[in-house]
Amino acid sequence: MTWDQGLHKATTVLAGEQGTRELTYLEAIRAALRYEMQRDRRVLVMGEDIGVYGGAFKVTQGLIEEFGEDRVIDTPMTELAMIYAAIGMSFEGFLPVVEMQFADFISTGFDAIVQFAATNHFRWRQPVPITIRAPGGGGLRAGPFHSQSNEAWFVHTPGLKVVAPATPADAYGLLLSAIRDPNPVIYYETKYLYRSLKGMVPEGEALVPIGQAAVRRSGEELSIIAYGAMVQEALSAANELERAGHSIEVLDLRTLKPIDEAAILATARKTGKVLIVHEANRTCGVGAEVAAIIAEQAFEYLDGPITRLAAPDTPVPYSPPLEDAYRPNAAKILAAARELLAY
């Protein structure tokens, strides 16, 4: 089959896709890449060390053997050319998925994302259906340049979509949606969860729609709104509080842009107390937006101050005691939730 035939052929839904399997968060990402590459010849992946080596975290391991080096492209070390090239390939009909070795290095490709890709459809109505995978987050003693949670840079930029899955099933389903979305999507995957989190993942067309938050746990007294690695931390804090007789709701944002205002307002109106948690720095983080949405549209339902728990406004420190002080976790969520419950 030539490229041309492949590109114009309607994509297929692969058979034999029923059922679920238990996968790690990392395996779920790989499964999504494989599934999309199998069903749609337009999908290709690019990045530094992603082919022969299988990626710095081995997310793409085995893909080059299965799909060949035209579709699993080991690139020179240049994020900027990589992302610009992805934009160009999309104009030729491809659906590139670009891997940043670490989310931190996305800044080297910044222009391509926020200037070209983000504005393109607004300017001349040509979609830019690229996906950028950004392995983010800390807790791994990796220092200031291999631990960043820099999603707010892109949430602030019109024209981009930003997702941040917290479970293996969402890692799978949101990647499918991201690849098929006609817009540039930044897909923040959480390194901390790669191998530490397992879960049941449906096979086949288990798309998770972009723009929909999920209530992970229903409760009455207080809502914790989180995303990414902080969802698990919020859940363990919530379980602990439940043992103490409290009823806590946990809302997983899943998509940071476009953000699910309805779900945010629903939980705020339901419990009247909201604790927003993220690993990213506090100022102008996603939490600030969530707080503003609630303040503007659910003010009269509130029984306590909208509260944010986030990393302080510093780079991510390396030394373990500093990183522990820096990064939110279940214990800190517990303390903040108790304070808000007592308000």
């Binding site: 530094e48 060390d49 022969v52 080596y53 710095a56 080991d74 690139t75 020179p76 070390m77 240049t78 900027l80 050319a81 070795q101 670490f102 931190d104 290095f105 800044s107 080297t108 791994l140 003693r141 990796a142 220092g143 200031p144 340049f145 291999h146 302080p312 406004d313 510093t314 780079p315 420190p317 390396y318 030394s319 373990p320 005691p321 500093l322 522990d324 002080a325 820096y326």
Partner: protein
């Protein structure tokens, strides 16, 4: 090697041996889980990093990267401060803020700390050289970057800048055959990175990066040219990264023959054979030197391990000046 006097050769030998021993010590501490996170070995880079640093004067500025441990040592960062950095202690160069060799800047020693984003320091060093030129001082600025980093637009932009303004700048390109797992053939379509220098109208020099004397010779010449107003030089040091990209990487992608070929060109073995030929080294002297270095590192490690961790309450300290 004739132009290099005995004293310089012995000095270089000490620095190269210290570099390797400290690097081995780091690997060991990582295996003991005393160093957490990643660890980058520089084995194979000793000659070039030591030679380049030794070619500079005390007021010159250097911006080494993650495999230039030798350059940091020569410039005066002590094993104490480096080990404390690796162990995340308050007494480390970045007071526990940054990891590995990253961010180990100290302008009192003429060192600029780098960020992971390669080759950011190349742009910074162009600015340092520009400042030096504006002030009319006889000083030089030197930066390092690798074969992979050479693919970043900034490498080209900074080379162009340096040449347009005819800056007192020396670029050391460490071509160690790989960028993580990526071989040269996927990084560039030319044989020598130094070919690119012509595009910026600056001299491009190719040198055996495992030969201390050869690297010293060309860097010294480039430094003198820069100092006397002759503008920037690009020096490509051919070498080999003898370990994985970082400690987790078993580098299964590197052909065994290639490693064996470079093993035979080990920079330390080469300087030692020259020293022996000059009658400056024998087994007993070598054993004594290694013992002295181990004692120095034991002391430094004890200092680092007995240093406190940073106080968590200070996590936001230092964000602003």
């Amino acid at each position: 090697m004739n132009e290099i006097d005995d004293e310089l050769l012995q000095q270089a030998h000490y620095w190269m041996r210290l570099t390797r021993a400290l690097d081995d010590r780091g690997t060991f501490l990582h295996k003991q889980s005393k160093i957490v996170g990643g660890y980058f070995s520089q084995i194979g880079h000793e000659a070039l990093s030591v030679a380049a640093a030794l070619s500079l004067g005390p007021k010159d500025i250097i911006a080494p990267m993650h495999r230039d441990l030798g350059a940091y040592l020569v410039r005066g960062l002590t094993p104490r401060r480096i080990l404390a950095q690796w162990l995340g202690r308050e007494t480390g160069v970045t007071r526990g803020r940054d990891a590995n060799l990253h961010g180990m800047g100290d302008l009192s020693l003429g060192i600029i700390g780098f960020i992971s984003h390669l080759p950011a320091s190349t742009g910074v060093i162009a600015g340092v050289a520009h400042g030096i030129k504006l002030k009319g001082e006889p000083r030089v600025a030197m930066c390092f970057f690798g074969d992979g980093s050479a693919s970043q637009g900034l490498a080209h932009e900074a080379m162009n800048w340096a040449s347009v303004f005819k800056l007192p700048m020396v670029i050391i390109c460490e071509n160690n055959q790989y960028a993580y797992s990526t071989p040269l053939s996927r990084q560039m379509a030319i044989e020598h990175i130094a070919q690119r220098a012509a595009g910026y109208n600056m001299p491009g020099v190719i040198v055996d990066g495992n030969d201390f004397a050869a690297v010293y010779h060309v860097t010294k010449e480039a430094v003198e040219r820069a100092r006397s107003g002759g503008g920037p030089t690009f020096i490509e040091c051919k070498t080999m990264r003898m370990r994985g990209h970082a400690i987790h990487d078993n580098m299964a992608y590197v052909p065994k023959e290639l490693l064996a070929e470079w093993e035979a060109r080990d920079p330390i073995a080469r300087i030692e054979s020259e020293l022996r030929a000059r009658g400056l080294l024998d087994d007993a002297k070598l054993a004594a030197l290694l013992a002295r270095i181990e004692a120095e590192l034991d002391e430094a490690q004890a200092f680092a391990e007995s240093s406190p961790y940073p106080d968590p309450a200070t996590v936001t300290d230092g964000v602003y000046a």
